[in-house]
Every structure is written in structure tokens, then in C-alpha cells.
Symmetry: C2
Subunit: 239 residues, 2 copies
């Protein structure tokens, strides 16, 4: 082996590193999509909504690219042990991230469907701002976990998901309140939007749990602890 | 090599076959869960609802088992080309099937939440019976595709998904009808139930597309063709 040919192991490590970088890149696009979906959804901004919808193809493309790269690594390098689990984990994390992008797109599509009206009744705006905030903090920590493999960040993600489950549950309580005076179609939109936001958090939890597993070898505990009610039905953490 | 030691290749083929059998086993449990969820949901049968909810752990267990088996095959056999794609495909199909089981459980949880009342207003019963029927036919064909790798079955699955998308869209139209006289909480339940049934079909499509891909090397076309409306938002075929 001369100086110009890096050792096989080094090439392999570079390829694994590249997979990790690509996961971070996709997660960063998801973060942008979520931020824009927030603007589109809360401010009835049709232009931003259209951007989110068309930019989702980029996330799908990168996921495909990452998956093909991962399959090539499996075929050419035949990794074992922790390297193998990292590649299989990447295939799954990319699927979760891609789905988060889809859900941000669904929020933008709701905004487009109701434009020029806002999707939400004014009374619910504050509650949904908080849900978007929780998802934004959660996604930020997902990116950190992917970058640093710091498991304490994962715990914060699970805590944020519990907060999100509670907010999701509260949406159903608000809708069931006899003083609620919006229309049934608005209730339908609100139900779907809350579900989408809850699912975004849940996929973020999936990613964090997979990183935890890769680092520690143990599955992090699931956070879904709603014994009854719609929170239980809608919240799928740990599945 | 003596007669008692089968050739390595033969062992490997047997392992691949076993993975295929386990996928069929999980899909069959999903079929049962969906059938029971239908009874629980349409007939407000709390006992059947509890069965669906507790039996879901079995599907989760089998998925884990299949995934561990697949990772072992990757580690020990280092498959390449179509064998590698089959294993990676199995990891993804098992995730879709497990998710279908979760969604059947969510339908049972809705039944339990509203018990002893039915979830649906009587006027919507027929419509949801049809949605459950479409999902049942779709899951039956998913099992056939897994058994026979017959791509013509896959086309029928895509056609059933288009029917399901239409029914899902019609639910929103029924809810938006000014003559609709049910409560907002009922509208919330109906929205979620319709979304769960649509998602079950969508995951079935994912499985069928993966089998098609394994057989033909081409991705089957996506069937999501709703240009506007909630059908578009809720229907995720081909993602």
C-alpha cells in the first residue's frame, strides 16, 4: 500500500461519516420546512406554503440518495457489528426524517387549501404556536444528537415529546368544549393539524431512540404514557 | 462437504425464505387485527377492542424478531445484489406492516374511548363499512403479493388505494355538509378514523411497491392523484 492509497478501513470510515453528514443535511432541510410550514400555516402565507410543498421533493431525493449509498456500503463493504447497525439505523432514520418532511408539507397543504382564510380560529393560534415551538426545539435537538451523539440531548427530546402529547390532548379538549363555536370543517382541519404536529415529534423521537441505541446498545424508554383519551390514540411515541 | 452439511448457498436461501415466511405471518396478524378492529369499531364491542389492543404486542415482537434475523443475515452472509435488496426490503416492509397493526389498534382504541356509545353516527356506518372492506381486500392482496410475487396483484392494490382515497375525501365532504348534525367531538373521531383507514391502505401500497421493485427493478407508479382538498392532504400513497 503506498501513500496515495488510503487503507480500506479509512475509506470505509469516510463513507460511514458521509452517511452521518447526509442524515444531518436532511434533518436540516426538515427544520427549514417546519419553520416555513409554521409561517404558511399560522399566517396564511400562500407563497411560503407553495415553497414548502415544492421543496419537499429535495428531501425525498436526498433520502433516496442516502438509501442507495447505504445499500452500496452494505454490498461493497459487508460491515458487521456496530458499523452494520449504524447503516441499518441510517436507513431507518432517513425514513423517519423523510416522513417529517411530508408532515410539514401536509401543514402547508392545509394552509393552501384554506387560503386566503387562516386554517385556525384565532382562539387556537397561541396553542398551535406552542406546538410548533415544541416541534422546532425537538428537531433542533434531533440535529444535535445526530451531530454529537450526546445521549443527554435524547432525554430532552423525550421530555419535549411528553409536552407535545399533552398539547395534542388539549386540542381535543378544546374542540370538545361546549363553548367552542367554530364549524365542523374547522374542527377537522384542527384535528389533522394537531395530529401532523404530534407525528413530527414522534418521528423525531424515533430518530433519537435509534441514535441512543447505536451509542448505548439499549433502547431508550418510550415516552407514551397516556392511559386514556385521544392523546393515547394520537400519540405513538416509542412505536 | 458431506451429505449432512448443506451447501452454504442452500442455508442462505433457506434463511431468505424464512424472512419471507415471517413477513407473511406478520401480514396475516395484521389482517386479523384489522378484521377485529372493524368489529370493535362498528359494533362498539369492547371485548374485541381490548383483544386488538393487547394482541398488537405480538406484531411488534415479530417485527423485532424479523429485523434481528435480517441484521444477522446481513452480518453473517454479506448478501449482495438482489439478495441484499430483498433483506433491506424486508426491513422496510416489516416497518410498514407493524405500523398497519398500530393503526388497527388506534381504531380499537377509539372504540374503547367512546364505549358504550358507538364512535360513528349511524348515517356514516355504511361509508365506513366500505372503507374497512377496501382495506380488507387490500391487505388480502398484500398477503398474496408476499406469497406469490405476482405483480398483477400489486396493480389491484394500487386501484384499491385510489378507491380508498376517494372514500377518505368523501368523509370530509360529508363532515362539511351543512345538514351534518353531529357534534364536533364526533367529527374529530370520524376524521381520525378515516385518516387511520387511509394510512393502513397507504402502508399496504408501500409493501406492494417494494415487492414490485424487488421483482421488476422498477418503482411502481404512485397512485396519489388528488390535486386539491383533504384527500390530497390525507392521502400519502407513494411516499
Amino acid at each position: 500500500m503506498n501513500e496515495r492509497t488510503p487503507p480500506v478501513r479509512k475509506v470505509f470510515q469516510a463513507e460511514l461519516h458521509q452517511v452521518g453528514e447526509e442524515l444531518i443535511q436532511i434533518a436540516t432541510l426538515v427544520q427549514q420546512a417546519l419553520g416555513s410550514a409554521r409561517t404558511a400555516f399560522l399566517d396564511a402565507d400562500i407563497q411560503v406554503a407553495e415553497e414548502v410543498i415544492s421543496n419537499d421533493a429535495r428531501i425525498d431525493f436526498l433520502q433516496n440518495d442516502l438509501d442507495e449509498r447505504s445499500i452500496d456500503i452494505l454490498a461493497l463493504q459487508s460491515p458487521v457489528a456496530s458499523d452494520l447497525r449504524m447503516i441499518v439505523g441510517a436507513l431507518r432514520m432517513s425514513a423517519s426524517l423523510e416522513r417529517m418532511g411530508d408532515l410539514a408539507r401536509h401543514l402547508a397543504q392545509l394552509a393552501r387549501l384554506r387560503f386566503p382564510e387562516p386554517v385556525l380560529p384565532e382562539a387556537m393560534r397561541g396553542h398551535f404556536e406552542e406546538m410548533f415551538d415544541i416541534d422546532a426545539r425537538l428537531v433542533e435537538r434531533v440535529i444535535s444528537v445526530l451531530e454529537d451523539r450526546d445521549i443527554s440531548e435524547a432525554d430532552q427530546i423525550f421530555a419535549l415529546k411528553s409536552e407535545l402529547n399533552l398539547k395534542h390532548q388539549q386540542v381535543f379538549e378544546m374542540l370538545a368544549d361546549p363553548n367552542w363555536d367554530s364549524s365542523v370543517p374547522t374542527a377537522v382541519d384542527v384535528t389533522l393539524a394537531s395530529r401532523y404536529l404530534e407525528r413530527i415529534g414522534d418521528h423525531g423521537v424515533s430518530v433519537a431512540r435509534k441514535v441512543s441505541y447505536l451509542v448505548t446498545g439499549d433502547w431508550a424508554p418510550a415516552t407514551d404514557s397516556h392511559p386514556t383519551g385521544h392523546g393515547h390514540i394520537g400519540a405513538d411515541a416509542g412505536e
